[in-house]
Structure formats: structure tokens, C-alpha cells
Symmetry: C2
Amino acid sequence: MSRRSGILEFAVLGLLRESPMHGYELRKRLNTSLGVFRAFSYGTLYPCLKALVANGWLVEEPGSAPEDARAASLAGRRAKIVYRLTAEGKEHFEELLAHTGPDTWEDEHFAARFAFFGQTSRDVRMRVLEGRRSRLEERLEKMRASLARTRERLDDYTLELQRHGMESVEREVRWLNELIESERAGRDKRTGPDQ
Amino acid sequence: MSRRSGILEFAVLGLLRESPMHGYELRKRLNTSLGVFRAFSYGTLYPCLKALVANGWLVEEPGSAPEDARAASLAGRRAKIVYRLTAEGKEHFEELLAHTGPDTWEDEHFAARFAFFGQTSRDVRMRVLEGRRSRLEERLEKMRASLARTRERLDDYTLELQRHGMESVEREVRWLNELIESERAGRDKRTGPDQ
DNA sequence: AATTTCATGTAATTCGTTACATGATTCC
DNA sequence: GGAATCATGTAACGAATTACATGAAATT
């Protein structure tokens, strides 16, 4: 019950689904492989892992790599802790994957969802992409309205900032359009026909 | 000493420098006019205002609009509280404006700084823009390196996410290049020669 | 041998939201 | 006179960081 950190929990389960890992490595992959996420600190990550274990979604295992086994057997000392997804954890992750809702379209949530698209069904992918798109279109609408109301009172820099912001959002909408089109056509970028 | 919320404090002082306002209005302008900021909640804004008053940077004033005066005089009841920047507050804001450092190049900080470029000197603008640019270039470098290391092990969606992320950063770098060029040429977007 | 990187964790603090509570003003 | 919007606040909670503390393994 204690510590549930939405995105982090989701990303950790998703990464561990591919293969067991220890905390330090997980953290690196949250930045690099998944690219999108900011670097969660250890002060966030480790307590989160403990909580996931307490929930029965992960189990701690002694590192299975030879050097860890050696280290652990030489003395009773602490070796690396490798986390592995349990059956319940897997099930829980499936639920999270299948769920789509307003929160899902938010910036960071969306990036996290997208990063695990490979493990999702096409209709979930479509719901996520389309939801994200309408969320962005709403945002554009608000920006346009606000700009129309206040244009005269703004100085050049503020105006330029708004213009650039809107352009970024419009660009993401176009990107989503392509992705949605691509999903409709029933294929990934280069894998060819799939599913 | 109590509540200092970097960005919010900065934005509030900057907005109040243009003209006195009450909390509710401030909050709207943080979203709309300044466009960039997420909507700070009242639970954040009002305590922040109180803290700024405690610091002597703002003073509370009875609303000067006729309907407020009427309401306040009719009964001893609470009217709108209009906040006005004090001389010390103005001075403090100048200091914040003049300061440039690593924190300044961060995403949200940068947006806040940019929103008040109109009140800054050209050399500060240049430092902020160039700092932001090198920060983004560092980020690009890391992304490229990480991508080169892990490309084969990533599925198409993860790859696409990284590609789009990098493209967004590259786009912002180009934007900054234009702005820097424009500053070098010694003019704002449309105001013509200035300072 | 020393330094860097790997590896795990805790406590205090920061930043901000949500939910709640209250009441005035404007519009229909 | 009822609803929507304007307007101000507080208390409890949440998410994540920073600074701290510890120690093993690899590299130079």
C-alpha cells in the first residue's frame, strides 16, 4: 500500500518483464534505453522496489552471475539483489497495459506507455495514440483561444514563446497522425506485417 | 525563509512588476498570457504570495477598483487583495533576472526566463540562450551515444520514441540558433533596433 | 595503493497537488 | 432566486530529490 509511483512502478515492471535486473542497472535503463524518462534517483527507486516486493509483484534473488555467486558464497556478505517479476507481477502489468484513461494521455504517462507498445495489442495502442492526440488538440484549442484574446497585450518574446510552444504541439500531432496511420495499415515501422 | 518556489516566485514577481494584481488573476495569467507554465494550484499560489509579503517583496492592498471599494466600505468585509511589488521586491527581481547559472538552463526555468526577456538586458539574454543551447547539445550527445550503444537491442517503438525525442531537441536547438542570431543582429523580432 | 564506478540504502526536505471550507459577485 | 464564476484560503497528503552513509569491485 505504501509507495506507488505510477510511472516508475509501471516502467520497472515493464523492464523487469523483459529480464531480471538489479536496481542500479534498472536506473540506467530508465534513462538510456527508454530514453524518455528523467533519471529517477535511488532515493525513489529503491523504496519503490521494496514496495513492489511487498506487493508480491517482484521477488529478490541473489545475483545469478558467477561473480555474484562467488562473492555471496565466500562470506555471508550482501551481494547484488536481482529483482524478478512474479506471476502476479506479470498479471498486474498486463492490467496496467490494458488500462486506458485520461491520465494515460498525459505527457510522461504517454511516453511510458509508448515505450512498452511492443508488449501491447493493437487496439490498446490505438486508444492510447488517439487519446493522446485529442488531448493535444484540446490543448491547442486553448492556446489558440488565449492567444486570440491577448495577442495585442503581449511583447515580442512572450509571443515568440507561445508561437514556438504551439508549433511543438502541432508537430507532435502530426507525428501521432503518422503513427495512427501506420497502425491502421497494420504494420510496425519496419517489422512488416505483424499480429 | 519559509516557502520559496523558484519558478513560481520568479513568475509572480515578474507579472506584478508590470502591474498590481490579485491572486486569482495572477493564476490565470500564469497559464494563458505566459502560456508556458502549468497551472499552479491555489494551494501553491496563495501561500507563496503570503511568503513574498513576509519577505517584504510584496504588499497587500485593498482592491482599488470601484466595486471593491464599495464592497469594502459597505461592511467591514473582506475584499479582493491586490498585490503590489515593493521597491525591495523590484530590486530582488532585478537580481533574479541578472542571475544566470546551470539551473537557469533547465526546461521550466528557461521558459520562465524567456517569458520575461522583455525586461532583461541583451547580454543576459545571450547568456541564457547560449547556456540553454549548450545544455541541449550535451543532452543530444548523450542520446546519440546511448542510441549507438543499444540500437540493436531496441524494438521499433522504443527506437521511434528515441528518434522523435532527438528530433524535438534538435528542433529546439535550431530555434535557439535563430534567436541568438537575431539577438546578435541587435533587434527584437519586430520592434526594430532597441537599446 | 588509490580512484572511479558499481551498488544499496535512509532521513530530511522541497515542491506541489487534492480535497475541503467559505463566501462574494455576476448572469440568467 | 439559482447557477456559474470569482475569490481566498487551509490541512493532509504525495512524489521525488538531496544529502548522507556505507561498502564492494574494477581500473589505473
